[in-house]
């Protein structure tokens, strides 16, 4: 049901919610009141012909003034600010989490796992290195071969990077002694500083049959893990770095 209001605007008599509507004259009176900021006299002055309806609408709506003003709690402002601050903190925490999650989700998560494996392999390499050096001592034997390194045993310092991939974190080597650094990103690669000159080596290992001759003349043959250091730049002498 539609009607045409006095100003030519189509007035819907009953809205879609099936709610009651004002008749067009009263609707006009309410419009005048709204335009006048609910000042009944100003609305009547604007449209004297609707005085009765305007005054009636104003009287009805004036009942709303009976609703008391509610005083907000004293701490409402502080509570609101605290809630916002909490949201800001949460956003910050979430942003940090998202950044980390994104970093883990793209590459770094793989490299982190592979880094772990590589570090593990690196540790294993150093353990093998140590074992190969100590094995003869543990067996109370004397190696028929030469020492592991040209430098005296026990002077090799191996370390893993903290923030820098090739930076040793272990006790520093004494001057003039070789320093072995295992690349944590590639534990098969090591840089050995010999006489202050860094040289890159590829680390590999294999089992080697060793023969030990004891003072009483007995000879024992056993298998021993051996680390091989092969120079990458091919300028280093493999014999300088390879274990026995």
């Amino acid at each position: 049901m539609r009607e045409c209001g006095p100003d030519g605007q189509e007035v819907q008599a009953m809205n879609q919610m099936n709610e009651p509507m004002l008749n067009p004259d009263d609707a006009q009176a309410v419009d005048r009141l709204v335009e006048a900021g609910f000042d009944a006299q100003a609305a009547v002055n604007a449209e004297p012909a609707r005085q009765r309806r305007i005054e009636r609408a104003a009287a009805l709506l004036a009942a709303l003034d009976a609703l008391p003003d509610e005083r907000a709690g004293d701490d409402l402002v502080d509570q609101t600010l605290a809630r916002i601050q909490s949201a800001i903190d949460g956003e910050e925490q979430q942003r940090r989490f998202d950044t980390q999650a994104a970093a883990l989700a793209t590459g770094p998560i793989r490299s982190r796992w592979s880094l772990g494996l590589r570090e593990l392999a690196g540790v294993a390499a150093v353990i093998l290195l140590g074992l190969s050096a100590l094995w003869p001592l543990m067996n109370g034997s004397t190696s028929v071969d030469g020492p592991l390194w040209d430098a005296p045993q026990g002077t090799i310092t191996a370390g893993f990077a903290g923030s820098q991939a090739m930076e040793p974190v272990g006790p520093p080597a004494r001057s003039g002694q070789p320093l072995v650094m295992v690349d944590k990103h590639n534990p098969l690669k090591a840089i050995i500083i010999i006489n202050d000159q860094p040289r890159e080596f590829l680390i590999s290992s294999r089992w080697q049959d060793r023969v030990v001759r004891y003072p009483d003349g007995t000879v024992k043959r056993f298998r021993q893990p051996v680390l091989l250091f092969e120079p990458v730049d091919r300028t280093a002498n493999p014999a300088d770095a390879a274990s026995p």
């Binding site: 099936n18 709610e19 004002l22 009636r56 004036a62 008391p68």
Partner: protein, 197 residues
Amino acid sequence: MNTRTDEELLCAYREGESEALRLLIERYRSELFNFLVRFVGNRAAAEDVFQEAFLQIHLSADSFDATRRLKPWLFTIAANKGRDYLRKHRRQATMELSAPLSSEDGSGEFIDLLEGDVPQPDSGLEGDELASQVRQAVDSLPAHLREILLLAYFQRFNYNQIAEALGIPLGTVKSRLHSAVATFKRKWEAIDETPDA
């Protein structure tokens, strides 16, 4: 007293002046809180919605068009939050009172303000009693009518401002306000006719 406009304060907050938001909240503490108490019907809920509204202001501050007025935007957000609250916490009694009026109640009819009673200041009702009855009549209005009636009467929003605040066409604002006034009158008469009223 800070003489900066609402919009200037929000821009200042956006640029990192956190104190500007406090000033804005203090500025609207009474007005917005009163609107919300009347809209959602209780103080605790109004406080919660008030905080939600300003939290949303914080979250959306960057999207605010500084060439527009802040107040309608604030009330838009507050009304939306209030409606969300009412949807979640709608009480059965309210649902019954807010349900579309049946034809026996006069739906589909034009309400004539010259017919029947309207509340009179000298009706003999005590202040608290009158307030309670008005409260009951307002609470029983459907939310979409109640918010328009409150924005128009208490906030003195004109039709254009209500349309902007609620994001609905001007014609819809008018028809809803007319319906709100008609429904309020009918609710008032229904309460007034009850024996214990």
